[in-house]
């Protein structure tokens, strides 16, 4: 409702820390500005740098600063870029799906059924107080050739030979990341479940829904915002992840971020790296927007 001009910051202060009924907007700006200015500045800088670089050219160790679209042309016409981009999006999508699907029931359990919610939430965060690298090592122990999983299956007589499809493929990437992202998926979904007014669920029951129908028609649509938030928090950084694919992805697990990483690292071609980054961010943004719209739409379609 507030249509006051931005410059109107209320009466001049008389000094001293007193409560002044300044305009809401003024107080909102004043309080949020440290955080927004800080983030804004540190976000703007990388973007400006990236965009500038993407119009330059690298020749060995020197930068040619004549503006050119060459990088974009090269990147867009390279089938390798297409291939990696699509695979990244597909893997990130799979990771997102797996993480959210695995996390939803546990978030549901904590929000709706668990007695000691804080304890459960803490239990879920503790495993992540150890180094990521070490956790990846541990996954390789579990999934590896001689690993826990294979030993257990062999011991039970379920298999005769160690399975080698557990590690070094897309499955391993998805599993490792579904583990790594767990708290980031659980928390937003938990929050959105927590916000559901219990009388809505009772109303659905009262109108003849079985628990399953009730879940599909009320609970799920009402948690769409939480699912979308969780998905974005997982999807976007996963596309940019180059460490996990390198560690557990095997020979087929390479993603666009590995290529970007090579440009910023070994190849020392920052302009191309910047171009690829921007292209990646744009595709990710595009996919994310499509996803959000589709998610909302789908949520709205359930009746």
């Amino acid at each position: 409702m507030d249509n006051r001009p931005l410059g109107d910051l209320g009466r001049p202060g008389r000094g001293g820390p007193v409560f002044k009924p300044r305009s809401e907007a003024a107080r909102g700006y004043a309080l949020s500005s440290p955080a927004t200015a800080y983030v804004g500045f540190l976000v703007a800088a990388p973007l400006v740098i990236l965009i500038t670089y993407s119009f330059w050219t690298q020749t060995y160790v020197t930068l040619d600063k004549t503006p050119t679209l060459g990088n974009y042309r090269a990147a867009l016409s390279d089938p390798l870029v297409h291939h990696l981009m699509l695979r990244s999006i597909w893997i990130a999508g799979a990771v997102t799906l797996a993480t959210v699907v695995l996390a939803y029931p546990i978030a549901y359990f904590i929000a709706m059924k668990a007695r000691r919610k804080t304890i459960w939430l803490l239990l879920i965060t503790i495993p992540f107080w150890s180094s990521y690298l070490l956790r990846v090592f541990a996954w390789k122990l579990i999934l590896g050739f001689n690993g826990v999983m294979n030993s257990a299956l062999l011991g039970l007589g379920l298999i005769d030979e160690p399975l080698d499809f557990l590690l070094y493929n897309e499955f391993a990437v998805v599993l490792t990341l579904a583990h790594a992202w767990a708290p980031f998926a659980i928390l937003p979904i938990y929050v959105s479940l927590q916000k559901i007014d219990p009388s809505l669920l009772e109303a659905a029951t009262d109108l003849g829904n079985s628990p399953l129908q009730r879940f599909l028609r009320v609970t799920l649509p009402l948690t769409v915002p939480g699912i979308i938030a969780a998905s974005l928090i997982i999807f976007v950084p996963t596309v940019g992840d180059y460490v996990t694919p390198a560690l557990v992805g095997g020979s087929d697990g390479k993603m666009i971020a590995n290529l970007i990483q090579v440009q910023f690292g070994a190849a020392n071609n920052w302009p191309l790296g910047a171009t690829l980054s921007l292209l990646a961010m744009m595709s990710v943004g595009f996919v994310a927007i499509v996803f959000v719209i589709a998610g909302r739409g789908l949520g709205g379609r359930i009746r």
Binding site: E202, A203, G208, V218, R303
Partner: protein, 372 residues
């Protein structure tokens, strides 16, 4: 309204841990009646309603709907529907989809549409099909909740304080409309409320609850005229309570000595089961006459002094302090032309028709469940 019982509660009890939220509830609701459950906050009204709806199972006793025992029947399979206090409008659905909610997948699409339109017309929301749930005012939400429940054609409609979230004007309007709707549909309505006027103006019968017990079930007029004990008497309207001593009991009449007014013979109150020498009696404020001089034509009179004047619009309440009686006696006088006019401190006389003195039985200790 017929004499057929649509709901029967037999010795129903509900415990939360060791806490008795409802106990010994025996209640028969008739087909087509408008029944209200009235009582102070926390007395167990919602608990009873939710047991009927099937959201809670009684810890003892049985609930029958239309003759069938409901034990083990989940809420979604009961022929009841509920209007929730918060309305519980599904925020992700528009008005039409909210109303159609319970029919989807059960009834052909064309029929749903027709019934939704009909239900919306019924609650005077015709044409608001596409309105979003968050774009509704309080009164509109209430109507949507009503339509959503009624479209299911329940045998019994349960309403948990359906009007308490609305402001005065709207509340009065909805009271009127809901009563009309109920009469035209002939469905049994069971409404929980803590507003005595709401209960009295809308209901065929009222059940008054205190501390988990159903104290009295009667028509509004009977409840007002013959409350069975002090709690009921003072929860509904205002009641002057006086201590009295029973002198004699003969053929449904009691000879008593009432504080201040002296000896009189009053009707024995059928609802009160325990007799005692020391009882309390009640007198409604509007059944006392207030005069500047001693009134001649009243069998019992009393002298006092105005301690307070409270203005209620239609009526004026005088509080009259009387010697040897703890609390001032309230007298209600209609506000005709604002002519009768006593002021604080004036000496006045009270006149009483003995027939209007109500036997309220023995004074009961108030339960431990009561809070400040």
């Amino acid at each position: 309204m017929t004499e057929k019982n649509i709901i029967e509660l037999k010795g129903v009890e509900k415990r939360y841990g060791s806490f008795l939220a409802a106990s010994g509830i025996d209640l028969d609701l008739r087909q087509g009646e408008f029944f209200s459950l009235l009582g102070p906050s926390g007395c167990g009204k919602t608990t009873v309603l939710r047991m009927i709806a099937g959201f809670q199972e009684p810890t003892q006793g049985a609930i029958l709907i239309d003759g069938q025992d409901m034990a083990g029947v989940p809420a979604n399979n009961r022929p009841t529907n509920m209007v929730f206090q918060s309305y519980a409008i599904f925020p992700h659905l528009n008005v039409a989809n909210n109303v159609a909610y319970g029919l989807r997948g059960r009834v052909p699409k064309a029929e749903i549409d027709a019934r939704v339109t009909e239900a919306l017309e019924m609650v005077e929301l015709g044409g608001l099909h596409q309105r979003g749930a968050n774009e509704l005012s309080g009164g509109q939400r209430q109507r949507v909740a009503l339509a959503r429940a009624l479209i299911m054609r329940p045998k019994v409609l349960l309403l948990d304080e359906p009007l308490s979230a609305l402001d005065k004007k709207l509340r009065e309007q909805m009271q009127f409309e809901m009563r009309n709707l109920q009469q035209s549909l002939g469905i049994t309505f069971v409404m929980v409320t803590h507003d005595q006027y709401e209960a009295m103006t809308m209901s065929d019968r009222i059940g008054v609850m205190f501390d988990g017990r159903l104290e009295q079930v009667d028509t509004p007029a009977t409840l007002y005229a013959r409350p069975c004990n002090r709690a009921v008497a003072s929860f509904i309207g205002e009641m002057n309570i006086l201590p009295a001593t029973v002198l004699e009991e003969t053929g449904g009449m009691l000879s008593i000595e009432a504080a201040g007014f002296g000896r009189m013979r009053i009707e024995r109150n059928v609802n009160a089961t325990d007799r005692a020498r020391d009882i309390i009696v009640g007198i409604r404020p509007e059944q006392l006459e207030i005069k500047a001089d001693k009134p001649a034509d009243y069998p019992a009179t009393l002298k006092g002094k105005i301690s307070n004047v409270a203005f209620y619009g239609e009526n004026i309440h005088y509080h009259v302090a009387v010697e040897n009686i703890d609390k001032p006696i309230a007298v209600s006088v209609p506000n005709y032309f604002h002519t009768v006019d006593f002021n604080r401190g004036d000496a006045v006389w009270l006149g009483l028709q003995v027939a209007s003195v109500i036997d309220l039985g023995k004074e009961r200790k108030s339960s431990q469940r009561e809070k400040t």
